[in-house]
């Protein structure tokens, strides 16, 4: 069985190699049958990697404990769901999962572009297959998932496996890696199209149009993946943190930052023909950061709470990254004359400029996170001392950056292209601006003394106000013209330009997330040992330990503290934080109890139990739920942006037709008259 799997991977490796050669030679020698066979080879690779994955999953679920991977990542009494999830629970399996996703994407690309892009496709396939070849090299030769246990070359099995890490036995953790990987792997496709159009010297933005949905879907997966990781940390780790700038978290946010910058700056190219070189650089940066992220999590180069051990794959990743980056730089420099900008920047107060600064800040934050993550590695190389920067450093830097971005989120979309008139500034910003100052003053008078929270909340108000004004103005115009109610006209407005109004919804999601972050300085904590019958206080809450119970299941033993909770003297219910001791892994983990409300969460971790005493950690986290609500709005907004607009919109470049003419021409993409 495992031999068939290993053989499938070996064959997939050979066919990937063939696919590269056939596609490139076929394109260069203009031999359509060769390029076609290159396309078919991609489908064959998908089939073979699927077979290998299927065999691994089958072994995991049926519990074939002769196999090293199965023995170290599952045990008999684990639910089938988690046995399946063990596919990506360890290094070997997760690299196979990467390969499988990439081959699936490759097959989808072949299928969706079978009609158009005859010139680009061979190069796209060549590039995707090269990436695939790299991962198959790891799968087939370096860290094979199909190793079997043996004593003196005689295959042996063990009675039961080690089990999946208990911390990972949680629903969000089960679906977090697939989402993150769908995001990581997905950026390979726009990258391949970008490089293919460079190689072909294909002028124009067709690679951007073709891959816009890819990029957006990929970005959506990645955002969801990052958010799930954050939610997992909050709900499972037992101290209520949702982000601690751990290297592995940073690995997931790095490509997200670069990808977000890319999503914004492609608009500059589509509408103004600017920033062409920059977009190439950005998509390449995003892609290589995805590879780098995989490398960071898989190689253990920076010690982290959840990185895998140091392993032999590090040098493979470094070589692949070095070669890939060098090739990309050479390609961009060589084809620079095809990437000339078609217009110039005119004013600091313009849409172009807001995109520019958005990109600058996103990239600066990306670089800062990268620098902070690699600081131990850098200092070790330079001075032989391994120095790490902790969360304080990241927060000092990233909080102002985040607030700057939030500000741009508010002003950017309302600046006109080219330059913005004083009149327009007043019309768009007078009311929200005054409101913002009032909110800040009210918060200060209300007793809030954390500058960042005040700034953040008042900026949230500002951005939300500008977004709501945009929806309101557009809908009112439509409702007057078409004589329909306000709600239908909001839907009509959004449907007419899903990209624009979906984007606003995404911005709204970000605003809600910032509301959640603003609550952080007001967290309250209490830790203590409490006897049965005694009480503990945190914030306005009183917790009385009513009982300590325990029990047993095949997979784990558990003990639960039954707490009677009251707030300001009023009884509000019972909470039951639990500890589980997983037998196979011989490890304990906490199942926290949570009382979720929009204004604050009450969060209780049953940390330890000695005799009749329970050690409890209790926290009050104000506003934290708005982060998760914001994520949902962001997902919804991205989905709206993916719906095709009702009116087929031509993204005509705004030609320079003189200031007087501009005054009377409705700007098509804005759905409103710009002065």
């Amino acid at each position: 069985m495992e031999n068939v799997g290993a053989l499938a991977l070996l064959l997939a490796f050979c066919i990937s190699l063939y696919s590269i050669v056939a596609s490139i030679v076929g394109r260069l020698k203009r031999k359509p049958f060769l390029t076609l066979s290159g396309e078919r080879a991609v489908l064959a690779v998908w089939f073979l990697v699927s077979v290998a994955s299927g065999i691994l999953i089958y072994s995991l679920i049926t519990g074939d404990y002769r196999m090293a991977y199965v023995a170290s990542h599952t045990n008999r009494d684990m639910p089938v769901f988690y046995k399946f999830a063990a596919w990506w629970g360890g290094q070997e399996g997760s690299l196979l999962f990467w390969s499988w996703l990439l081959s699936t994407y490759g097959a989808v690309v072949v299928f969706t572009t079978r009609k158009g892009h005859r010139n680009l496709l061979p190069w796209v396939i060549g590039i995707l297959s090269t990436v695939q070849l790299f991962f198959l090299t790891l799968n087939a030769f370096v860290v094979s998932p199909f190793q079997v246990l043996a004593v003196d070359k005689v295959v042996t099995s063990v009675a039961d496996g080690m089990g999946l890490n208990p911390l990972l036995q949680y629903w969000a953790m089960v679906i977090h890696p697939p989402f993150l990987y769908l995001g990581y792997v997905g950026f390979a496709v726009p990258f391949a199209f970008a490089m293919a159009s460079l190689i072909e010297r294909a002028p124009g933005d067709s690679w951007i149009h073709t891959t816009r949905r890819w990029t957006l879907v990929t970005w959506l997966f990645q955002s969801t993946g990052v958010a799930l990781g954050s939610a997992w940390a909050y709900h499972v780790l037992g101290w209520g943190g949702y982000w601690m700038w751990d290297p592995v978290e940073n690995a997931s946010i790095l490509p997200w930052l670069a990808g977000t910058a890319f999503l914004h700056s492609v608009m500059m190219q589509e509408k103004k023909g600017m920033m062409k070189v920059w977009n190439m650089v950005l998509i390449a940066t995003t892609f290589f950061l995805c590879i780098f992220g995989t490398f960071l999590t898989r190689s253990g180069i920076v010690s982290s709470v959840h990185a895998f051990a140091e392993s032999p794959i590090g040098k493979y990743f470094v070589s692949f990254l070095a070669l890939g980056i060098a090739a990309t730089i050479w390609l961009i420099l060589d084809r620079l004359q095809y990437l000339k900008s078609e217009s110039e920047l005119e004013s600091v107060v313009s849409r172009e400029s807001s995109f520019l600064f958005n990109n600058l800040i996103l990239l600066a934050s990306c670089f800062a996170v990268l620098w902070g993550t690699l600081f131990p590695v850098i200092t070790e190389k330079l001075s032989n001392e391994k120095i790490s920067l902790d969360a304080i450093w990241f927060n000092r830097l990233m909080v102002p950056i985040g607030l700057g971005l939030l500000f741009l989120t508010g002003v950017g979309p309302l600046f006109a292209w080219r330059r913005t008139s004083i009149d327009s500034l007043r019309r768009n910003f007078q009311l929200p601006g005054i409101g913002t100052l009032l909110v800040a003053a009210a918060l200060f008078i209300g007793g809030m003394r954390y500058p960042y929270s005040i700034i953040s909340l008042s900026l949230c108000f500002f951005v939300a106000a500008t977004i709501i004004m945009e929806f309101f103005r557009g809908s009112r115009a439509i409702s007057e013209k078409m004589h329909i109610g306000f709600i239908p006209s909001v839907i009509e407005l959004t449907h007419r330009n899903t990209r624009r109004y979906g984007g606003y919804l995404v911005h709204m999601g970000i605003v809600l997330m910032f509301i959640g972050y603003s609550g952080h300085p007001f967290n309250q904590t209490a830790v203590g040992e409490v006897d049965k019958g005694d009480v503990m206080k945190v914030g306005a809450y009183t917790l009385r330990v009513m009982d300590l119970t325990e029990g047993d299941t095949p997979n784990y033993q558990w003990e639960t503290a039954i707490l009677d909770v009251s707030k300001n003297g009023n009884h509000i219910g019972t909470l039951e934080p639990t500890r589980r001791f997983y037998k196979a892994a011989q490890q304990a983990t906490a199942i926290i109890a949570l009382r979720t409300r929009l204004n604050e969460d009450l969060y209780i971790n049953y940390a330890a139990h000695t005799g009749n005493k329970a050690t409890l950690q209790a926290y009050v986290f104000p506003l934290v739920d708005w982060i998760w609500i914001g994520v949902l709005v962001l997902i919804g907004g991205t989905l709206v942006a993916l719906v095709p607009s009702k009116v087929a919109r031509s993204y005509a470049r705004t030609e320079v037709v003189g200031v007087a003419a501009q005054k009377s021409i409705p700007v098509p993409e804005a759905d409103r008259v710009t002065e």
């Binding site: 170290s72 190793q147 079997v148 246990l149 051990a309 600064f357 790490s388």
Partner: protein
């Protein structure tokens, strides 16, 4: 030229203030990663610097007192006595034989006062490549399927 000047000034202000923030925050946030051997070599510096020292938790060395937990970290033949004085309960992964990372300062008596302890369960998070996890029999090593294929023939 004037408008590009404005862009340049704005960018310089943004990048400059970020660089300033980044460098100014390093000193208050940096932590030295050391081995037990390096910690002893640091001598007087060790008591002023914030360090994180790694090692394995010595078997049966964990003594839980009121508010503090004492244990020993071992690395090769060196043993470092640690007193954990942090407020939070120790993580679930902290137990005999676990790999632990203690953050804090060394006192003049050679006892390490830790404010935070991270632990990873040696057998779970980090099976050493090519070596069977602890729970599996010592003699059993995973071999790749190719050699097992040969033996099956």
């Amino acid at each position: 030229m004037r408008k590009y000047g404005k862009f340049a000034v704005l960018m310089a202000i943004i990048v400059g203030s970020l660089l300033w923030l980044a460098t100014a925050s390093v000193s208050s946030s940096k932590t030295y990663y050391v081995t037990i051997q390096e910690l002893h070599k640091l001598g007087n510096n060790a008591s002023t610097r914030r360090v994180r020292v790694g090692g394995d938790v010595q078997k049966d060395s964990i003594v839980r007192g009121s508010g503090t937990v004492r244990f020993n970290l071992v690395q090769e033949a060196l043993i470092l006595p640690v007193v954990y004085e942090g407020r939070d309960p120790l993580p679930d992964t902290f137990k005999d034989g676990a790999q632990a990372l203690a953050g804090g300062r060394l006192d003049s008596a050679g006892v390490f006062h830790a404010q935070e302890v991270q632990a990873k369960c040696a057998s779970k998070y980090a099976p050493k490549p090519g070596v069977a996890p602890d729970g599996l029999q010592k003699k059993m090593l995973p071999t790749d399927s190719k050699s097992s294929y040969r033996s099956a023939l």
